[in-house]
């Protein structure tokens, strides 16, 4: 250390002592509060967090910014204290002349700051920093460790839009001190159309609806539920609305609080179209529509629901969804390349068979989560099975894979998956929890720490793909054989491998101490590796058990999200503290019913589809037109990519040719592969958002409209060709010697599931007069129908 710097430190210390001795008073905070003593962890770091200084794009980035580095989201006070007080020759904090501290000069814009001016010289934040520096820039380790934060009030129910309310945040620290930390907390609204929130916690309601304001303070996150009712005209009497089951009771109770009146019951046409798309991704045929309309029995909707739920395509649709959830990514499956798509199909078939049998959800999950290749069979028997399955994959699409007890394909990936990935994948699939943030740092808006992330991942450290000691000899011999009989230079050989439980790998270590971490369920019990025991089995038992709040809730939420277009927790795989359910009571009730009925998926579907809530019209009224997440009306939504293809084909009455990778004439909803050789269908799937299934996120399925979709419907040569296909609906109709009126009826029923209105008839008649050729007039009409929003949206 040079003499000069030693001198400087001595001077600083003297100055510190002097200023510390003479200072006093503290800082006045917004809202009339007074802070007696500024604390590094509680206040300074609180402000770093709230102002975004320690975010990943600013000083929290791994390289820091402008030579100044803070720990990401402020989880390491010791490092931050050193950065602030020591680095950069200590110029950031200047005890001799506190106002000349670089920290203040930069943040207040007096010296150029890449991040701009964060607060002005006359702001309270400035005074907080200044006071802290004046008082010696001290740090008392651990003062900022938060035991819990409390919000007051925990819920804000406004009377009408335009009102404001204050949320107070207090923290109980590890030392038992409880303090109001409102100015140091971060507030954000989940829906800025319903309510906005100031950085002092003042919530202003803007429009009728419900949302949450998320409060976070130093990694602790809590939501405040916000309710803003509609303002009703004087004398408005809230009508009584019939309820079909507990779903309606919960939904309508919430709507009543919001002064929103549910829309009317959907018409038969509207109901039939919606329920057909939702359950089997098909449109009803014109005859089916007519039959349904003339049926006068009071329970015809319930009967239709039962019929659709028993339809083979219904199991296929949910198999597709479970393929998304479990990541049936064709490219990741094993060689040879030409069998990959077929293995993907086996994956789909495995689910489909179980869904068709309505096997309980927990049993299905068990077959995925606890899969092994041999399932207790002898190596000899198992190898015979493998040969059969491999042969089936080469030959065609029939095979016995679906008869296996477990889905070992889930664990068989060409490229090795790390335990981290298994942790993330299983948590997203079966708990609806996104863990990936916690791989590198504590999740900023959820409870998960790196330690929990790693302990959870370690559960999977014994799952091995290769050859178990028992079976090694046979597997090796078989592989030698296969290599011998293969053509030269074939690097696409199907090598026999087995998913089995090996000795656990080393596993991930504690992020700070570097000590081994015992496997532990996410927010659950320790699950140690024991010889002869499958940790996944214990995990499964915990998942489905009474102590797990995610398992049943995440799946009923997925079912609900599928049928109602918006999950109670939305996105459906984002259960986190910052993303509370829009209606907790309903979600709890649904989960309870699911558990009580022993995870009977179809029972849940029947409950939902028979509720009046599901069957409401999409036509809004004056009280519910703003509603987006309280289910006051049916939400108009895009269709899944598979449904788009199937709905188009069923409207046009054509079938799809798929090429070699997919069985001919399959419906899109029956296709297992995420990749296959057929450029036209690959393109259609891609632009309508079918997921590649490479990451464990529901967001991979794009459900937003995009321009190429519109262009596809207007111009795609394949689709235009289908309009005129000889076997297709239009050509058959034109041949059938029907009148123009009858033909128009058929086309409307086939596409929009309704008869043309008087206006539609007139539009057509006017058009018909301008086009000489009858066939051309109807081709134009069919093109126009499939290009309407009414056609391409589910409503």
């Amino acid at each position: 250390m040079s003499r000069r710097s030693r001198l400087r430190i001595t001077l600083s210390l003297i100055a510190l002592f002097l200023t510390a001795a003479t200072s006093h008073a503290g800082v006045d905070l917004p809202g009339g509060k007074h802070l007696d003593k500024v604390d590094f962890e509680r206040h300074i770091m609180g402000l770093f967090g709230r102002m975004g200084c320690n975010s990943g794009s600013c000083h929290g980035s791994f390289q820091g910014k402008g030579g100044f580095r803070l720990s990401l989201f402020g989880y390491e006070p010791s490092k931050d204290y050193i950065s602030v007080t020591r680095d950069n020759l200590g110029r950031r904090v200047n005890p001799v002349d506190p106002e000349r501290s670089l920290l203040l000069l930069k943040a207040s814009g007096q010296v150029e700051h890449g991040g701009g001016m964060r607060f002005s010289r006359d702001s309270w934040q400035y005074r907080v920093f200044l006071d802290w520096i004046k008082n010696g820039a001290l740090w008392h380790a651990g003062t900022g460790t938060v035991k819990k934060i409390t919000l007051s009030p925990p819920e804000l129910a406004f009377k009408k839009a335009g009102e404001s309310g204050q949320v107070q945040v207090s923290a109980t620290f590890a030392d038992g001190v409880e303090a109001d930390i409102t100015p140091f907390a971060d507030f954000r609204t989940n829906d800025d159309a319903v309510a906005e929130v100031s950085n002092q916690g003042v919530v202003k309601s803007l429009r009728a609806g419900s949302t949450a304001v998320i409060v976070s303070y130093r990694g602790n996150v809590l939501p405040v539920r916000i309710l803003v009712p509609m303002e009703l005209p004087a004398g408005f009497a809230y009508p009584s609305v019939p309820e079909s089951n507990f779903i309606d009771r919960e939904v309508f109770a919430r709507l009543c609080l919001l002064n929103m009146v549910p829309s009317d019951l959907s018409s038969d046409e509207e109901f039939l179209r919606r329920v057909s798309i939702d359950t089997i991704a098909q449109l009803p045929s014109p005859d089916e529509v007519r039959a349904f309309l003339v049926d006068k029995s009071p329970d015809k909707r319930a009967k239709k629901i039962d019929e659709l739920l028993a339809h083979p395509l219904h199991a296929a649709l949910w198999a597709t969804k479970l393929c998304d959830i479990t990541g049936n990514d064709t490219a990741s499956l094993e060689n040879p390349a030409q069998t990959k798509a077929k293995r993907s199909q086996m994956w789909h078939d495995w689910f489909r068979k179980r869904l068709a049998e309505n096997l309980p959800y927990d049993e299905i999950v068990h077959g995925v989560l606890c899969a092994t290749s041999r399932e207790g069979k002898s190596p000899e028997d198992w190898i015979e099975d493998v040969k059969k399955i491999d042969a089936a994959a080469v030959k065609g699409f029939a095979g016995e894979y679906a008869d296996r007890g477990t889905l070992d394909l889930y664990w068989r990936r060409q490229q090795n998956q790390t335990v981290e990935q298994w942790g993330e994948r299983t948590a997203a699939a079966f708990m609806g929890v996104r863990l990936e943030c916690a791989q590198c740092h504590k999740h900023p808006f959820d409870r998960w720490t790196q330690e929990e992330y790693r302990s959870y991942a370690n559960i999977f450290s014994s799952v091995t793909l290769g050859a178990s000691p028992d079976a090694k000899k046979l597997i090796d011999a078989e592989n030698v054989d296969r290599k011998k009989n293969a053509p030269k230079n074939n690097n696409q050989l199907a090598i026999v491998k087995e998913v089995f439980l090996g000795p656990p790998a080393k596993g991930l270590k504690h992020p700070d101490t570097g000590l081994p971490l015992n496997p532990k369920a996410l927010g659950g019990p320790d699950i140690p590796h024991e010889k002869g025991k499958d940790t996944r089995e214990a995990l499964f038992q915990w998942l489905r058990g009474p102590d797990n709040s995610f398992f049943a809730r995440s799946f009923v939420n997925r079912i609900w999200g599928h049928y109602l277009a918006v999950g109670l927790v939305h996105p459906v795989d984002d259960f986190s503290l910052a993303n509370p359910a829009s209606n907790d009571k309903l979600l709890d009730a649904l989960a309870k019913a699911f558990v009580d009925e022993k995870f009977d998926i179809r029972h849940m579907e029947r409950l939902i589809l028979n509720s009046r809530t599901y069957q409401l019209s999409s036509r809004t009224n004056d009280t519910n037109k703003f509603d987006k997440n309280n289910y006051a009306h049916s939400y108009i939504r895009p269709m899944m990519a598979e449904a788009v293809v199937d709905v188009l084909n069923s409207a046009l009455s054509v079938s799809e040719k798929w090429g070699n990778d997919v069985k001919q004439d399959s419906k899109a909803g029956e296709v297992g592969a995420s990749q296959f050789q057929n450029p036209a269908m690959t393109y259609a799937f891609r632009i309508f958002g079918r997921p590649p299934r490479t990451t464990a996120c529901d967001c991979e399925r794009a459900m937003e409209p995009a321009l190429p979709q519109k262009l596809y419907l207007m111009t795609d040569p394949g689709l235009i060709g289908k309009l005129n296909a000889p076997e297709g609906r239009l050509q058959q109709l034109l041949k059938a010697n029907k009148s123009d009126d009858e033909t128009l009826d058929e086309l409307f029923l086939a596409t929009l599931t309704r008869l043309p209105t008087a206006n539609d008839r007139k539009t057509f008649a006017d058009y018909r007069r301008t086009v000489a050729d009858r066939r051309a007039a109807f081709t134009d009409t069919l093109w126009a129908l499939i290009n309407t929003r009414e056609f391409i949206l589910n409503h």
Binding site: G52, S55, G56, S57, G114, G115, G116, M117, R118, A331, Q417, Q421, R434, Q439, F445, P571, D574, S618, T620, K625, Y635, I636, R637, P638, Q675, Y683, R686, I687, G689, T694, T695, C699, E700, A702, E704, P705, A706, L707, P708, K710, L711, M714, T715, D716, P717, I720, T757, N759, D760, T763, Y767, D780, T781, W783, A784, L785, T788, R789, L793, H795
Partner: protein, 449 residues
């Protein structure tokens, strides 16, 4: 002031992302575009980045070219590594390249060669993703291709698609929009891979989904559209306010605009070019595709990918290069660069020629070279890149960079910096995770003119 800063520093909020996603593509309105552009200029770090280029043509050599036999010849390497080709002097003083690239040698004074590029993935799929996204692939996140990022961040001209690709890279496993969402995928040119039918070349080129199929006239489209507007009127009453219906409506109008506009179709009308120019580009799909790319860029397209396959030369590397690959590349790439230059477009357009990796310095027993990612060379021209410059060197055996090592992230960062975009600009994934464009990338200042 404070508020605007917050959104800059934190990147786009998730809601902005969704809105932009829905507006998508050439769907942005002019004010939105201006705002976006302004934002890009304003972004932290954006101040250092001046825009030097406005569009990119990526010439993709699929399979992994043996750049050791092209741009980085090692005449002094030991037997078994030294290739069969000699090097030749170029118009860039001191820069030598393969003797079988004579036309490139003639225009080397307009190009930059990066000889010290290296990564660690010798497998086609992930290496293609790495090179075309500027981010090392990870299973946790699908990074968007450079073209998709450019589409997302740069304003687009009306009536043309912003990102056009002449082939599906790795069968669609690369070149896609990843976490940006399907709205930022490339528009794919059809008919580009078709075998060379003499004279018919490019007659069949069309971008899937943005031109009317044969026999479908514009007049017919207008008629049908009238019909459809009338049929849809009833539905409008059902929903008066959802973003979804508004979005679809906007897309509908844009779709019509594109179909009515003939800018893209015109770009593919290669008959508008002189026969001699067409011949200079090469009478094959690759050559004509390169010419169409130039025309697309002229029409306002931001990012075009053209691709030439066959570079995976595990066997008979030298024969394949000498007889087939190098002559074709030499002709087309040099024609493209000099044509752009002749039209004054090269200053604004980056030409980037690369493949997923290089090939082993050691020659295998089939006179081939195998996958090698630890050293490779790429060529850049125009759009603010230095002229007549070779960057970095490899060691005496061509195994690894010896000086100025750089990575795919660095090249991507430098390209984006020349496009006026901060390589560390932050975007938000649909899960709400903030992600920098190229977190590991740094701008290679010496590549910039």
């Amino acid at each position: 002031m404070t508020k605007r800063f917050a959104s800059d520093c934190e990147g786009f909020a998730r809601r902005d992302f969704i809105k932009l996603g829905a507006a998508g593509l050439f769907g942005l309105s002019l004010p939105q575009l201006l705002e976006l552009e302004a934002r890009a200029q304003d972004a932290p770090g954006g101040r250092q980045t001046t825009r030097r280029a406005s569009s990119v043509i990526m010439v993709w050599l699929s399979g992994g070219p043996a750049t050791i036999d092209m741009w980085d010849i090692r005449p002094d390497a030991p037997d078994g590594i030294r290739g069969e080709f000699r090097q030749m002097q170029t118009r860039a003083g001191g820069v030598q390249i393969c003797e079988h690239l004579p036309r490139m040698a003639q225009i080397m004074d307009r190009c930059t060669i990066v000889r010290s590029l290296a990564h660690t993935i010798p497998s086609h799929g992930p290496a293609t993703v790495f090179m075309t996204t500027g981010n090392k692939p990870t299973p946790a996140l699908q990074y968007p291709a450079l073209g998709s990022l450019a589409t997302r961040l740069l304003p687009a001209a009306r009536g043309v698609p912003p990102y056009v690709s002449f082939s599906e890279l790795r069968n669609g496993a690369a070149g896609q929009a990843g976490y940006l969402g399907t709205g930022f995928n490339p528009f794919i040119v059809e008919g580009a891979g078709a075998p060379a039918g003499r004279g018919q070349l490019a007659a069949n080129l069309r971008v899937r989904g943005i031109t009317l199929p044969t026999g479908f006239t514009l007049q017919q489209l207008e008629n049908r559209d009238r019909l459809l507007q009338a049929f849809d009127r009833g539905f409008e009453a059902t929903d008066r306010q959802t973003d979804l219906v508004d979005g679809l409506d906007a897309f509908h109008r844009q779709a019509l605009e594109i179909l009515r506009s003939d800018r893209t179709r015109h770009a593919f009308n290669l008959d508008a070019e002189s026969a001699s120019l067409r011949a200079r580009y090469g009478n094959n799909p690759f050559g004509q595709g390169a010419l169409a790319s130039r025309r697309l860029i002229e029409a306002g397209v931001r990012f075009v990918t053209i691709s030439l396959g066959g570079w995976d030369t595990h066997g008979q590397n030298f024969t394949a290069l000498r007889t087939r690959l190098l002559p074709q590349l030499d002709q087309t790439l040099s024609a493209l660069i000099s044509d752009l230059d002749g039209r004054g477009m090269l200053d604004e357009t980056i030409v980037y020629c690369a493949g997923e990796f290089g090939r082993t310095p050691r020659i295998n027993q089939n006179a081939g070279r195998d996958h090698w990612a630890r050293s490779m060379a790429v060529v850049l021209a125009g759009g603010g890149f230095r002229k007549g410059y070779a960057h970095g060197t490899t060691d005496s055996q061509g195994m690894a960079p010896a000086t100025e090592p750089c990575t795919p992230d660095d090249i991507a960062s430098t390209i984006f910096s020349n496009l006026g975009l901060d390589p560390h600009h932050e975007l938000t994934t649909p899960t709400g995770r903030p992600v920098q464009l190229f977190r590991e990338g740094r701008v290679v200042q010496r590549l910039v003119a």
